[in-house]
Amino acid sequence: MRDGTAVNAAMIGLIVNGEALQVRRGSTVAAALLNAATACRISESGEPRTAVCGMGVCFECRATVDGIAQQRTCQMECRDGMVVETQR
């Protein structure tokens, strides 16, 4: 299954780096990426980074969401069919 649609009302389906992922409704994109053990972004010197502060301050959780880069994923709730990519 690669269409990123929810299997039931309590869950939301999204696509993370091309793979389908189910998360609980109300989850943030940063939490979804952590559950998928996927980096949000690759740093200036090439390190994988994931969310750190969880409150929109540190900018480590920036990723590309629905084609828009530089989105702070910890401040953004998942929507059905959302497409998220690690920011390089």
Binding site: V23, R24, G26, S27, T28, A30, A31, A32, L34, N35, A37, A39, S43, E44, S45, E47, P48, R49, T50, A51, V52, C53, G54, M55, G56, V57, C58, F59, E60, R62, G67, I68, A69, Q70, Q71, C74, Q75, M76, E77, C78
Partner: protein, 437 residues
């Protein structure tokens, strides 16, 4: 879009909600702007986790909702002018909105202080409050081994919460020595409520070790954290873990207050008895004025709300209680003061500025007499990434005493197209504008 209100409150945490509720109940038109998707700020953050309901939050939110105050979630303040206008960025619509006001109440809260140590940029290393927030936002940590390190009352609260959410809390390592904490405990003898809170958190952690006088010297792992090296000054040892939560107490978010010209002291924004700042039209409440906890925040919010609505005298009965909470905060600062070992954890190749990957050796080479922060910025790009020094700034303040005094708009990065008047073409909106110095 343009909005006009008598009073605008920035921040929908406990302090901001209390302020807005008091203003609205006094019959004035009030808006609350908050960057998060839901009300509550950090301590009352909306939660998917199964941790017990918080009655005081539920009461405060219900009263706020009944008060007639208008909530604007998802609004990030990027610019402002104490004479009467704020500009907010709304990511959902990719647009800027303007709010005009007669009086402004700042309740911008606090963030965690981070100190750089080897390995702290590894995935799996989080802020302590940060990890708690992410769990509340849907991060599943069941069965994960967690070590919590750093300092402050937040460590115990976070550890208890993570345990309730299914994590295996291996160790809580508090850097403050036991003697210092005992003094703090004794000073609370007149405040039994706070002692009970602490003891109940400690009891919930029955199986986890709680150790004082020890600290992290390195996070270990290749690609993700697998352990942490700890020291108590006489020996070092390794604890295996899947997640490392670290927090070195809190620092107030003073950027907006600074931009508006409010005086900021060593502990936060300077306020008078009515919570008024050095700028007459601007009030400030909660952690932004000094770290003192949720009880202080609620009282300060109500006092400022009444004062801003022209009913300062009604709030006078709350002043003594507010002052007692403030003094609790000052005692907490002393109890959890950083020991000198915390300031020498970074190795030459340790990244200090995570946005620009600037290493400690680059910064110490750039450090010169006078304003080290400006030199470091100019020579290394330290603090010039998207977080605008919000993480490395307080770290370098602790390490070298440097102060970031240059705050300018936009307070948060904006897509470049936001600065043009035409509607945004999102395809082109991905270049960020940050302050340059």
């Amino acid at each position: 879009m343009k909005h006009s209100f008598d009073i605008v409150v920035v921040g929908a945490g406990p302090a901001g909600l209390a302020a807005a509720t008091a203003v609205a109940e006094a019959g004035r038109r009030v808006a609350v702007l908050d960057e998060n998707p839901r009300v509550g700020g950090q301590i009352w953050r909306a939660s998917l986790s199964k941790v017990a309901r918080d009655r005081s939050k539920e009461r405060a939110v219900a009263r706020f909702e009944a008060s007639g105050a208008k909530l604007f979630s998802g609004h990030q303040i990027v610019d402002g002018d104490a004479a009467g206008a704020l500009e907010s960025w709304v990511a959902a619509t990719q647009s800027l909105e303007t709010f005009s006001f007669e009086r402004l109440i700042l309740a911008t809260g606090a963030r965690e202080r981070f100190l750089p140590f080897p390995g702290w940029t590894l995935p799996g290393v989080f802020g302590a409050g940060g990890l708690q927030a992410l769990v509340r936002s849907g991060y599943d940590i069941r069965g994960k081994r967690v070590v919590v390190v750093g300092t402050g009352p937040l460590l115990l609260a976070v550890a208890a919460h993570l345990k309730q959410d299914g994590a295996r809390v291996v160790l809580v390592a508090e850097q403050a020595p036991l003697s210092q904490l005992m003094q703090f405990g004794l000073s609370l003898i007149t405040r039994p409520g706070k002692i009970v809170q602490g003891l109940s958190l400690r009891a919930q952690l029955a199986n986890a070790q709680y150790r004082t006088g020890c600290w992290p010297v390195a996070a270990l792992g290749d690609g993700t954290v697998t352990g942490v090296r700890l020291s108590d000054g006489s020996r070092t040892w390794t604890e295996a873990c899947d997640l490392l939560a670290c927090g070195f107490h809190l620092v107030p978010n003073t950027e907006l207050a600074t931009l508006l010209g409010c005086e900021v002291g060593d502990h936060g924004v300077v306020v008078d008895a009515d919570q008024q700042t050095s700028v007459a039209s601007v009030y400030c409440v909660g952690e932004t004025t000094a770290i003192a906890g949720v009880d202080a925040a609620l009282l300060q919010g109500r006092i400022a709300g009444l004062a801003a609505a022209g009913r300062a005298s009604e709030a006078r009965t709350l002043h003594m209680q507010r002052d007692a909470e403030r003094s609790f905060g000052r005692r907490m600062d002393r109890a959890f003061a950083l020991r000198k070992e915390m300031l020498t954890l970074a190795m030459p190749d340790t990244i200090v500025c995570r946005c620009e990957d600037v290493r400690f050796s680059q910064i110490s080479q750039a450090a010169a007499p006078g304003n080290g922060w400006t030199n470091a910025k100019l020579q290394t790009r330290c603090g010039m990434g998207p977080c605008q020094g919000r993480i490395c700034g307080p770290a370098l303040n602790a390490l070298f005493g440097w102060k970031n005094t240059s705050v300018r708009a936009p307070l948060f990065p904006l897509p470049i197209a936001a600065l043009c008047s035409s509607p945004l073409a999102t395809d082109d909106a991905t270049t960020l504008v940050t302050q340059e110095n």
